[in-house]
């Protein structure tokens, strides 16, 4: 994937290569290159599982090939098909804690 001119100005990557499982539509690996065409980061996905009829990678590992550090995001639990009020996705959620907690409680009630 090569960014267009506008995106290229904002992105630190000159291009990315994504490896997609075309049967399950899951990204398995992404290679990210800098402006010197050097691969600087690599994302690796694993534990691809069918969860609520959606294929998902539950383990995502990001490797920083410059600093030789890696991080892993493990999705231990995930829910799909949750009803989210439009009202929840407003600026009020950021400032009104009582409102936010009330709305979050509605979401939690759907998965309990």
């Amino acid at each position: 994937m090569i960014p267009n001119a506008e995106r290229a100005r904002k992105s630190r990557y000159s291009r990315t290569i994504s490896y997609i499982d075309k049967e399950r539509y899951v990204t398995l690996r992404v290679e990210m290159f800098d402006q010197y065409e050097k691969e600087v980061k690599r994302m690796l996905a694993s534990r691809v599982e069918l969860i609520n009829d959606v294929w998902m990678a539950r383990s995502l590992t990001m490797m920083n090939l410059v600093t030789n550090r890696l991080s892993n995001m493990a999705i231990l639990e995930i829910n799909t098909g949750i009803d989210v009020d439009d009202e929840f996705l407003t600026q009020r959620t950021l400032t009104d804690v009582a409102f936010r907690e009330t709305e979050l409680e509605k979401l939690r009630a759907q998965i309990d």
Binding site: S71, L76, E105
Partner: protein, 481 residues
Amino acid sequence: MVLKLHSMGNFNPIPVLAGAALFLLAPPGLAQQDVLILDDNVQFDADLGFDDSIFGGVFEDDAEDTSSWLDNFTIRISQQFFGQVNNHSVDLAPGFSFHREAETESNRLGLNVRYQNPFAPGWLLQASGQAKAYWKEDYEYGANGDRIDTDLRINEFFIQRSFGQNSIKFGRQTVVWGETVGNSVLDVINTSEFRDLTIIDIEDARLNQWMVVWDYFGENSDFSTFVNLYPDFNPAPVRGSPFFFEPPFNLTDYDRGSELLFEVGTQWRKSFEGSDIAIMAAYLFENQLRYEDPVSRIGDAVSKKNDFLLLGFSANRAIGKLLLNFDLAFSHNVLADSFNFPGTGSFVAPVDLRKDQIGTSFGFEYAISNEQSVSIGIQAQSLLDEDEGLLLGQALINDGVFGSWLVRYSNTLMNSDLVLSSTLQGGVDGDSLLALLSVDYTLNDNWAVNAQLISITASSDSPLVFLSEDVRIGATITYSF
């Protein structure tokens, strides 16, 4: 979604990936130099799986409910050392100077507790407070007759009820109207206390006050209204602190007697894509009291309050990584000679005039990258018809355009474990400059250390002249959980 994040330090990628076939996909050196263009129907025979067992058996662990009533608390314990290290003389006037010795100013242990509990649907209780112990060589230790002193303070303490499109908060809290970081002309609702040079940011110096705040979240715009039930005033400098000067008469709190004082204000705000605007109006008391000599020349100074009207407008605009801020304030009937330098009292021959004042603050915040950011803010104010009503020979402290500017830069390194930041702050008339360098290093989830270096330069016209050429260094170690 329940996530678990692991971060590993330096690793050697070859052994880690030796068991995976990933590196077999690209011939060595190919990706570095040549652009590889693949057909849409390319097939990979290699196994794209990744053995994440190096992160331990996180997926095998049973998810345990570890919630506890303690989760509502955030507790921070810190020990701070801070001192002025430059032996020097300050020239106040030709032939008149005084010597500044290097000395420890702060040696104190602090406990900060924050509590936030949404105890029922639509309800929130939030409180924060601090306790401090002042050890030997702290200026509060000296002011307490060379004995360990302690201090307890409740900061926030409010209960909130949100229902429908409304939210009501009652209790001790702050109201922030300004957009400009650090020095907005609209942030005059809460009082502030710059007790010493360990606090130079207004965000840290604001004092909470007893208020009722009603927010209405409309379809297209919002309203926010506050009533301050017990207006306070900026505290007088603490004896022994760097801002303390020995006044001819004691500076006391305002004696409100049976007077019923209140402040009230309302703000209307509207958001657009990439921008917010707000207009506001308020009836307020100036946070800084003006002190006058007692008529009998005996006893305490007489503190005088002043009420005024504030009309304001604020706006911001985000353009990519740039956020522009703008504030405009018109104040009707402010005291012409209110001397509002942080933490000090106004103690000059009073010019008992009330005037209108216009002020603006503007600036920007720019995210250079995910790690680096810079912000600039300029505040400028001017009294209207400033000479009107003055007697021959009288002059105002704040004549012409007065205000301040602020530049902040921060750089986050080592996966956010190390934060370098600097602040430059000065007067618009160029008569003072405060430079701060700060280093924050996070040792682990609990421990962190901070080091600061502060230098002040001021001309004899500046109220900071008493601190001119001071150099302060300090360190704080913090344990939080």
